[in-house]
Assembly symmetry: C2
Homo-oligomer: 199 residues x 2
């Protein structure tokens, strides 16, 4: 909130955030974080009790900015809800073309901490994705689209799937395919199929 030149704590989180995202939390040492932040390790441990606390702070710092980014991408696209959602995926694909892109920090951290379900970072990651799903649901309900609860969950699945596939194959077109699937699902929900198309 305050606009200080940047507190020591903020500089630590900024340094950790860059390193954790670029290399993965398990491959970054506390020494590396301290060096990147321009402080000693003793100072680092003064501000954060443990590496696990720092990991939690890293994800906490990315929660709101990431959500705002998705919302800006959605709002910036012309058309109805289906078009706007597809546009959001198109912007995501564009962002994934940046050389430093390395997937979703929340999902990658969850993958690394899969054997520690109670880890604070897992809860933050789960909360972040829940917020995305909830936001999408309010969007669908505001647009008068039925089945917003199921639909928003399906959009989230396409989003996370596109993060995983784009990272594994280093191919952002998976995100565009996810956008097309999202578009088709929203269109189907917007105009329920007549019975002639039933099974």
């Amino acid at each position: 909130m305050t606009s200080q030149p940047a507190s020591t704590r903020e500089r630590i989180v900024a340094a950790a955030s860059k390193l954790f995202y670029a290399e993965g939390i398990g491959r970054v040492s506390m020494d590396a974080v301290a060096e990147k932040a321009g402080i000693t390790k003793r100072t680092l441990y003064y501000h954060f009790r443990s590496k696990d606390d720092l990991i939690a702070a890293y994800l906490n710092g990315r929660d709101q900015p990431n959500l705002l980014l998705f919302q800006r991408w959605f709002d910036a696209t012309d058309g109805g809800t289906a078009e706007k959602t597809r546009g959001m995926f198109a912007s995501l694909a564009q962002s994934a073309r940046h050389p430093k892109w390395k997937g979703c920090g929340f999902l990658r951290t969850a993958a690394e901490l899969a054997s520690m379900p109670g880890h604070p970072a897992m809860k933050i990651g789960a909360g972040h994705k829940k917020k995305f799903e909830q936001w999408m649901r309010t969007v669908f309900e505001a647009a008068g689209i039925e089945g917003g609860a199921l639909l928003s969950r399906q959009i989230l699945l396409l989003l996370d799937g596109s993060f995983a596939a784009a990272l594994l194959h280093r191919d952002p077109t998976y995100m565009e395919a996810a956008g097309e699937a999202a578009y088709a699902l929203i269109m189907s929900a917007s105009s329920p199929l007549p019975q002639i198309l039933g099974k």
Copy 2:
């Protein structure tokens, strides 16, 4: 191919597979693998040049069995292509309810190795997912469904998304939601929408 009591190499891969999947590759030491396999570390390094080689062997050993599992789940479900695909996701959700379930080993390994795109394990993981996508495509084309290339890619996205979401939230119902989305997408592709439903 041979049905020996189990060669040393096979026992090593079996031990590594259990440990890597349960704890994540970065959290498992070569000491732990050797101990689990009942050999010394020197013997382990006689059979595998490095840990990276062992990681590749781990994923290679899971490639075919995993694909066969998906195909068996698909075949075991009654109905048409859409129902069979949804049934496959339902079986996946059931498997995810096992206490030892920890997501997709290929995706979790890719997340850990995100900063090493050229790692052999990344190529094996990408190949595995490509095979799944290709298999789905042949299924759709054999059933006479149009757009099999795009559709199979969208099913893969739902699959990977459900792995990620189910792991993060520890909630297998995300896989059932993915199955419903897959069902809807396949039904739409099977019976193209008449123009009254166009935008």
